[in-house]
Amino acid sequence: MRLLPIVAASVALAWAAAAQDSKLKPGYAGSETCAGCHSEISEAFVKNRHHLVDTDKKRGWEGMACEGCHGPGAKHAETTETKDIIQPAKLAGLKSMQTCLGCHTGQPVQTAHLQNAHSRNSVACTSCHNVHKTGAESTAAIQRKPIGVTGQCASCHVNIIAQFRKPHAHRVPEGAMACNNCHNPHGSLNPRNLRTANGNDLACVNCHADKRGPFVYEHLPVRNEPCTICHEPHGSANPRMLNRAQVFLQCLECHSNVPSPSAAGTLGGVPPAFHDLRNPRYKNCTSCHQKIHGSNVSKGLLR
């Protein structure tokens, strides 16, 4: 009993000594240790938004931001072996993605993450984003410019970018637009990662708001199919980026059901018209049916 206070005091002294290093989790070396060898990366990291993780007391990684992605680094600090540290860029896609999503799940762009084709195909976040580069090579600087975003997409989607070289195309090669004006690379409610605009419409109406409607007289494919039923938005040799070289064929390929709907259940009846298609006057249906996306006045979409 007489020894108890003495023992208690000794334990208290030992506890105080250990408390000095409790900020670092077991097995973690701390960002300052990383900077000892990786000084250039560390200096560049100061300018990166992720540096907030290193200084923010509330995020749980204060002083350990590097190891937030790379895993515990104490052993690597001793051995300097690459096998003793996680390298997210070299992980398989989904595992690399999980490294980022461990913190970034809670962001607006990730809401449709599971519908994202990139996610399904295990395209890692590091394919487009880097956290270590600074200045003109940083992700922020590259993606600030439309041409920078397009260049990143083009590194994989070679055949898609090639379509923009056709004469009738959105102004993507000119740098006036980028792929992410229409697509959300992180996923979207719509197929093909197409963004929503004006609520729950397709991204097209973000710029083509006059096609949004509603119209008193609707053209049904505008409502139950995407705009790509008639248009090729990336680029086409056909004017107005249509899918067909002749406008009347674009229309009549659907408007050929007799009766309507046909036995196959497809929509689009044959119009009760006497248009002689040999006459240039009838080669372009939209010369008369000019409100083809929907009309407020004419059920024949004439006005």
């Binding site: 195909n121 590194s155 055949n159 070289r165 090669p173 729950n200 509603p214 040799a237 929509l267 407020n296």
Partner: protein, 674 residues
């Protein structure tokens, strides 16, 4: 005594033991301590050096003058495709400020591109950590389209009756407060507008008359919401309001005989005066909610719901004078004037949502379940009055055709998929997707009174599969397959029985050589009687990049892509009710080369050259070449001279009147401010 001595020994040795341990712990990082000392020296030195060479403000301006050689061929086609003009241009203005702890903003970035050109953009962002984030985007794009091959009812005449010469502008500003906090509110303002001129036909009974078209519409969105960002969860609630206006006006003040080349009931139809005025006003709320959460380390869930209910109010009027076919049944007269008015409205409540989850029962398996739904209907009604005057001194004949429209659309999609890491760098996935929906449109909405209610369904079973993997550190492969046994589709050209394959490979030949290849194939068929649709689209691409020494001395990127489309379906000629074949073929070869070579030395020039070519064959054979060459010459440390040559050459075999060629030279200066 012995016990007291023992106690004293314990009380002395215990602290000493811990002190020695502490010394050991402190001694252990003796190497780190030395490293730390070195780091401190480096850090002390580095900030001084960094401060000496790094300013928080950098800027870059590139501007010059463009000269065009003169457009050989059709100028309207050139404007429809390229549309660049001569004169002074500001290619780029970029200003960046980054200094943490500054009073107003920690970061500011301004970027403007192509000012003076027909498609220019501007972007400005401003951040103060943990206080606000402000973003503005603006774009102004000219849309000029005058291609007689598109709408030339005159046949021999090079006249396009569906022409546009407009400016499409987009503006967006977003202010987010407390962005790095758990809860941050935000406000967004968006505006999309288009105004300009065009040509459009005024369609009357028996004839259509191309007249002037003044285009003026705009849409504004006011959005406000709050984002909650927590460690394992996120939510976003947003309320928005849309306002839309369209004031299209078409008119003609001179005689116009229209497209009809033969008399109507023995008389030549013509207009002497006409106008048509739209006043469309739209409003509507948009409510959006989304969330994501990771309640456990093996489960992620996501969801979003969007509800929008836009409405449209229409006030339309039209007047025409001349020799006009009767506008009211039985259409057997030619009279002097006609008029039409319409007052009506339409509304379209629409609900969309999705819910998805990923479960990870162990380290290697992921199960994903996604459900998406979309439902809307459009109901429109109004009062339409058509008046027609046959002869002087007679009363107008009027008619009020029924005006009522309703369209209903629903769409659902259910997907379940499993992803399995079969090896450390290989993932295999397989799944099933079920899509279904219904659409209907009522008689008043259809083209003619002879057709009844049109209703259709969509029903599709889709199998999904894929594999992703890495072979060593250099080669990564990705393959995706989708196959469907469609039961019902909406349209004759819709997806029915299809297979879709996509393969992509990426190979790092060396640290400076990268090879990328991809291939995709979509094969769609609808064998149903009365449809017999056969469609195939294939694409293949190859890209080679060479960046010796990380791109510091040269960058060369070469791409080649081939695409082939073949669509074969029958259609009915309306006037004859006979079947004909619609065969669309497009084979396109596209190539791009960009080489950028830096000569050694601070004042060594930099050469860039390359360009792109497109050659298509099939239904609309086209050749389009765009070579480019550029030289940049540093004149001083932050001052460069540049000169750029571009050539545009477009040729269309079936439409030789829609070709053009032109040279373009732009020369200017580039300033760097640091």
């Amino acid at each position: 005594m012995k016990r007291q001595l023992f106690g004293l020994a314990i009380s002395l040795t215990l602290p000493v033991t811990f002190a020695m341990a502490q010394d050991t712990q402190q001694a252990k990082p003796a190497e780190p301590a030395k490293t730390e000392a070195k780091k401190e020296e480096k850090k002390d030195a580095a900030p001084d050096q960094a401060a000496a060479k790094e300013s928080p403000f950098t800027a870059e301006v590139e501007a010059g003058g463009r000269w065009i050689s003169g457009v050989a061929g059709d100028f309207n086609t050139y404007r429809s495709v390229v549309n660049l003009q001569e004169g002074f241009r500001v290619n780029t203005v970029q200003m960046d400020f980054q200094k943490e702890g500054s009073k107003i903003a920690d970061e500011m970035h301004f970027l403007a591109n192509a000012w003076g050109d027909p498609y220019n953009t501007l972007r400005f962002t401003m951040d103060k950590y943990k206080v606000y984030r402000f973003t503005t985007n603006y774009s102004n794009m000219a849309y000029f389209n005058y291609l007689p091959s598109f709408a030339n009812p005159g046949g021999a005449y090079a006249f396009n009756q569906r022409a546009y010469d407009t400016q499409v502008k987009n503006y967006m500003s977003e202010l987010e407060l407390l962005p790095q906090y758990w809860v941050s509110p935000y406000l967004i303002y968006e505006r999309n507008s288009s105004d300009g001129l065009g040509i459009t036909p005024l369609v009357l009974e028996g004839n259509e008359y191309p007249i002037r078209n003044l285009i003026d519409w705009n849409q504004v969105n006011y959005r406000g919401g709050v984002r909650g960002k927590f460690r394992k969860a996120f939510f976003n609630l947003e309320q928005a309001w849309t306002r839309f206006g369209d004031d299209q006006y078409t008119y003609i003040n001179e005689i116009n005989t229209g497209n009809r080349t033969f008399p109507y009931l023995g008389q030549q139809l013509r207009l002497t005066n006409a106008n048509q005025y739209y006043s469309v006003r739209g409003t509507g709320p948009i409510t959006r909610g989304s969330m994501s959460a990771s309640p456990t380390n093996w489960l992620d869930i996501y969801g979003q719901v969007i509800y929008a209910s836009p409405t449209t109010d229409v006030n339309y009027s039209q007047n025409e004078f001349g020799s006009i076919a009767a506008r009211v049944p039985p259409y057997l007269f030619v009279g002097r004037s006609g008029a039409e008015s319409f007052i009506g409205d339409a509304r379209r409540p629409r609900s969309s949502g999705s819910f998805s989850l990923e479960a990870r029962p162990n380290q290697r398996i992921r199960i994903r379940e996604i459900f998406e739904a979309d439902k809307s209907h459009v109901s429109g009604n109004g009062t339409n009055i058509v008046a027609y005057n046959q002869a002087p001194g007679t009363a107008d004949i009027t008619a009020q055709p029924p005006v009522w429209g309703r369209t209903e659309v629903s769409y659902f999609r259910q997907t379940v998929e499993a992803l399995v890491d079969v090896a450390p760098k290989w993932t295999v996935r397989g799944g099933y997707r079920y899509e279904w929906g219904d659409s209907a449109t009522n008689p008043s909405s259809t083209v003619g009174p002879l057709l009844g209610l049109e209703a259709g369904s969509l029903l599709r079973h889709v199998g999904l599969g894929g594999v992703t993997g890495r072979i060593g550190d250099k080669l990564s492969v990705n393959a995706d397959i989708e196959a469907s046994n469609g039961v019902k589709t909406y349209y004759r050209t819709g997806l029915q029985d299809y297979e879709k394959i996509r393969i992509q490979a990426r190979y790092n030949l060396t640290t400076s050589w990268l090879l990328q290849a991809n291939y995709s194939d979509l094969n769609n068929e609808n064998p149903a009687v009365g449809v017999e649709y056969d469609f195939r689209a294939r694409q293949a691409g190859l890209s080679l990049q060479w960046l010796p020494k990380g791109g510091r001395i040269a960058t060369i990127v070469a791409d080649y892509a081939w695409s082939g489309i073949r669509s074969d379906i029958s259609y009915i000629i309306p006037s004859l009710f006979q079947t004909a074949q619609s065969l669309y073929v497009d084979n396109a070869h596209t190539g791009t080369l960009m080489a950028d070579i830096r000569t050694p030395g601070v004042y060594g020039p930099r050469f860039s050259f390359g360009g792109s070519f497109v050659q298509t064959g099939g239904s609309r054979p086209t050749k389009y070449y765009q070579p480019i060459a550029r030289v940049t010459m540093p004149l001083a440390k932050k001052f460069q001279f540049f000169s750029e040559w571009r050539y545009y050459d477009m040729n269309q075999t079936l439409y030789p009147q829609e070709t053009f060629r032109t040279h373009m030279i732009m020369t200017g200066l580039r300033f760097l401010i640091q």
